[in-house]
Amino acid sequence: MIRTNVLCCAGTGCTSSRSGEIFDNFNKYLKEYGLDEEVRVIKTGCFGLCQRGPIVAIYPDKVFYNYVKPEDVEHIVAEHLLKGRVVTELELSEEDMKTGEKILDIDKIKFYEKQERIALRNCGKINPEDISEYIAMDGYAALGKVLTSMEPQEVIDVVKASGLRGRGGAGFPTGVKWQFEKDQPGNEKYVICNADEGDPGAFMDRSILEGDPHAIVEGMAIMAYAVGAHQGYIYCRAEYPIAVHRLNIAINQAKELGLIGKNIFDSGFDFDLEVRLGAGAFVCGEETALIASIEGKRGMPTPKPPFPAVSGVWGKPTSINNVETLANVAQIIMKGADWYSAIGTEKSKGTKVFALGGKIKNTGLVEIPMGTTLREIIYEIGGGCPNNKAFKAVQTGGPSGGCLTERELDTPIDYDNLVAAGSMMGSGGMIVLDEDNCMVDVARFYMEFITDESCGKCSPCRIGTKRLLEMLTKITKGEGTLEMLDEMEELCNEIKDTALCGLGQTAPNPVLSTLSHFRDEYVAHIVDKKCPAGVCKDLLTYSIDPDLCKKCSMCSRACPVGAITGVPGKEPYVIDTEKCIKCGSCMAACRFGAVVRK
């Protein structure tokens, strides 16, 4: 008889810090201590607080352990599971900012307190590889309700009334998209789930697929019924092996139970679903390129119209929805449009999942109601920048988005506000930058990404972004001119107006937004030949302050190229700037702060 559940996070983040070994060790030591009949160990999805992973949760005690190592497992088994003593040194806790008290209740910890989990509701709660656990959480009830008591049009009306908008970035109303496809003539129609998450630093969709794959399977079946499709594809990148593995398990389990296949719930509705693997090209997140890739062609976009709703995969009407959008669908059907539309802002309903990364204390996955401010996300949930560094900007929307600064921190997050502020919602990557990040370098990074990922079909994107990258690289080397800034701006606007697909049209955004918010940094690179953040290597020189140098020789021993000379205990050390490769090793090695970077 099972009295305790041990939930080990098996998301990608925790897996890479050895949560697989933790899972095996639990099973091993439970057996050794004779508890394997009483305690069940379960692999589950992302708990969200990836920074502190691997995370292990113990129920019904509701104790969360963080930074767990495989070596800790025996101790947890012997103490907590055998003797009932919580291992306090591993317990996830937070200090109350005002009283200094230790908070242990997971629901009261700041990181979770402001969150509202709808798309992530089962992540970290159920075993994603066991359909019965999903069913226990009311899974597939929405599909049952739709097939046995609703007309397709009623389903679309509910989704329309809920105000759900596409979570892939652009925010097109989901119900309207479905209506377009439903209104198309013909019987052969398709539905696609876009799981080609490609923004650097974004891992929302991956975590949903890994933690709650059945929610996507159910969402797709509901969408297919609403639009009149009988075949669905989940387009997922091969770089997400855990997600692909669990999706395939989920599809097979659903097929075995008859929740996918012929005559589902005896309603006469047939639906089949398969996973199609992509090779990880960023452009394949663009829907027409994605369709080409599913058809086995080279992943390149085609002009719109015709829109996929009219002519999509195999030339037939197709609806494409993002993972997170689909994860909301079953909940909306069960709880109603009014429930969903009561959450969020006037034009953006519901919640949004963000992947918090970069210079932030609590790296991880958060789901917040629309209308939460950036300040709440970054400071209250995220805990602010580590090491007391000053916040500089937050990059949202990936390579298609832009940077938002201190001034925009109190903007309530929704689709329209973010666009008005010069960025975009994007799929939900949120990268926090602090005073040590150079904004020119950030713009250069995204442009380099784009030139790699541009499919090359249209010249504005293929050639234009390459020219932008060249100019940005020159500026980071101190070879830029002030005229370049105007040229870049002009080129950016031309690319925006003339590129074929969304990738090219939005590619200049990181450049434009850093130019408008951080023009002074560009000017410092060009006029003063300095990188204020100390990032652009070509503009830096390292030197040793002879007054602070204690002649200890640590720096010269750390230098990988032998550029530092001196006599231990006698003569201060000197860096030969000709030989110096600006790696910063000496600066890290010096304990007296004598190495100066300018």
């Binding site: 008889m1 099972i2 009295r3 305790t4 559940n5 939930l7 009483e38 129920y59 019904p60 005690d61 509701k62 055998l82 003797k83 009932g84 003593r85 709660k125 159920i126 066991d130 019965s132 656990e133 069913i135 226990a136 959480m137 009311d138 597939y140 009830a141 049952g144 309700k145 046995t148 139970l257 008859g258 929740l259 719930f265 005896d266």
Partner: protein, 124 residues
């Protein structure tokens, strides 16, 4: 699976697997499982409590704790109510455990004779 009824049945069967993660039960039954408790026979008590709770669907979760500090009275079982009530049962064995579940969790009546106060009074 062909009907909502089938789905409902499957859901009810599966609920047992996950319900302990949900919380929301009226009582928390805690067994002292430190060395003193185990030596005095807390393990069969814990097993009985878990089995009976699962079988008869009592409105409680069963968990364990360390040494409560009254080793002489082990095995000790504490019952915490949602309303903040707290009862300590001492010298519990498997049969007494069954009765505590039946009376206290099932009907809301404290089994006075097993409580620490009653046992202490009896022993003088």
């Amino acid at each position: 699976m062909k009907s909502l009824e089938d789905l409902k049945k499957m859901r009810e069967a599966a609920l047992k697997k996950v319900e302990m993660r949900e919380g929301g039960k009226d009582y928390r039954v805690v067994v002292g499982m430190a060395t003193c408790g185990i030596a005095a026979g807390a393990r069969p008590v814990l097993n009985k409590l878990v089995e009976e709770t699962a079988e008869k669907d009592y409105n409680c979760v069963v968990t364990q704790t360390g040494c409560i500090g009254m080793c002489v009275y082990e095995p000790i079982v504490e019952v915490y109510g949602k309303d903040g009530s707290h009862t300590t049962y001492v010298h519990v064995d498997a049969d007494k455990a069954t009765k505590i579940l039946e009376e206290h969790i099932g009907k809301g009546h404290i089994v006075e004779e097993y409580t620490v106060d009653a046992v202490k009074a009896l022993e003088g």
